[in-house]
Symmetry: C2
Subunit: 246 residues, 2 copies
């Protein structure tokens, strides 16, 4: 693909990371999304890496400036790009991107969608340059993947924010929790989340649950989250209760 010219549109987290990864293999430019009106280059592939809300708008502005236009969003359908170019598609990396935090791209699953077999194979080849795990997914599948990632990744991080709030009161560092979290993920390689579930709720240990809720008395938001999770776990782990007994 060394003759393909790629434009990455958007200098946010995803754009910055994709640019770094792709430029090792393919001629690549990164463009501020606010400056595409003045753009005079033509790209073989334009990869839109902007907030979901403005993907359609940016695609319209790119009309005539790229032969193939794709976006990188989990939750926006491919059809948001309709009319912007003949070849349209989606190039969705299932990963959390933060500027300055390096990534092992080989491990990142890429989910591909395209409006023709040709587009799909170009995008698969492109993703294959940086990742070992390239899969196809239509807009419905991708939406579910994105939603699932928000739960598993974004909300897990938010849970650490909450844990950090609790520990800060005791002048403890949230990093003391990281071995525990690593083990939580490691377990999930070997056993499904239902069997891996531990903690007061899975043990139906109601006195600990109520002590914990009391500790959160001044933080009603976290108290409610605690209760909702406990209800969910109690309900789900009901039938394998015996695993966690004495």
């Amino acid at each position: 693909m060394e003759k393909t010219k790629i434009g990455i549109i958007g200098k946010g987290n995803v754009g910055t990371h994709l640019f770094k990864a792709l430029k090792e293999f393919i001629p690549c430019e990164i463009v501020d999304s606010r400056k595409i009106k003045d753009l005079d280059s033509e790209y073989d592939i334009a990869i839109i890496c902007v907030k979901d809300d403005i993907i359609e708008e940016i695609a319209t502005l790119l009309k005539g400036k790229a032969k193939m236009i794709v976006h990188t969003s989990g939750s926006v359908p491919m059809s948001a790009l309709s009319g912007a170019a003949e070849a349209i598609g989606v190039f969705y990396p299932l990963q959390t991107f933060t500027k300055d935090i390096p990534l092992n791209y080989k491990e990142i699953p890429f989910f591909i969608e395209g409006n023709s077999q040709k587009t799909i194979s170009v995008l698969k080849e492109l993703a294959g340059e940086i990742s070992n795990k390239v899969l196809e997914a239509d807009s419905e599948k991708r939406k579910s993947l994105h939603l699932a990632s928000v739960f598993a990744c974004n909300f897990s991080n938010a849970l650490v924010m909450m844990a950090d709030e609790i520990l800060q009161n005791e002048e403890l560092d949230y990093k003391i929790l990281l071995p525990l979290m690593k083990q939580t993920i490691k377990k999930l390689n070997q056993t499904d989340p239902l069997k891996a579930q531990t903690g007061p709720a899975s043990r139906k240990d109601f006195s600990t649950i109520s002590r914990h809720k009391e500790m959160l008395i001044n933080n009603p938001e976290m108290q409610e989250i605690y209760q909702k999770f406990s209800n969910y776990i109690i309900e789900k782990t009901d039938y394998n209760n015996e695993f966690d007994k004495l």
Copy 2:
């Protein structure tokens, strides 16, 4: 400590794991908590590994059968053992234990409490046999550590259960999310959870948030959890909003 005789009381997840780890270094027995009435051995240290609710009851039954009695619970105060032996304490491993899932004990932080300096140093020595990270924590600190772990670990696992529910509808395997989760934890080694937060809520991407909520229309429990997390993230990430912009 090779002359110390240890009794681990309770054959659940914690007991089973501690027994495996300690018996490498120290004479050790594991006892079913329902059978301690018939117990005729005397231990130097009895380590109670049972459900929080019955720790006090088990301690009372152990009276006269151990010189030192400790429990392994994050949320029960040391005082629950008062009167059961002269030397009492807490031996709290900050880890999630599941039978048959191996652990790297060296990495597990152990938090120690004791009713005398002598007890504390015996317990520190014992923990030091299996872990590199032995710390002191009084009952208050330990309660916070336990609560924080429930958020960071038990609830993260529950989030994967939820993600799994979403993916099962699309016949996708939750394991596709594990590289993402690994990266989420890895990021937290380098940057605090507030700065590491990504996702629709941190970007104030309200149209994605409402699309996601619509997808959860038949699952009001998960829909509510989605909303609560989004509110929390929106609120907390307010001031560093600019990091996640275009």
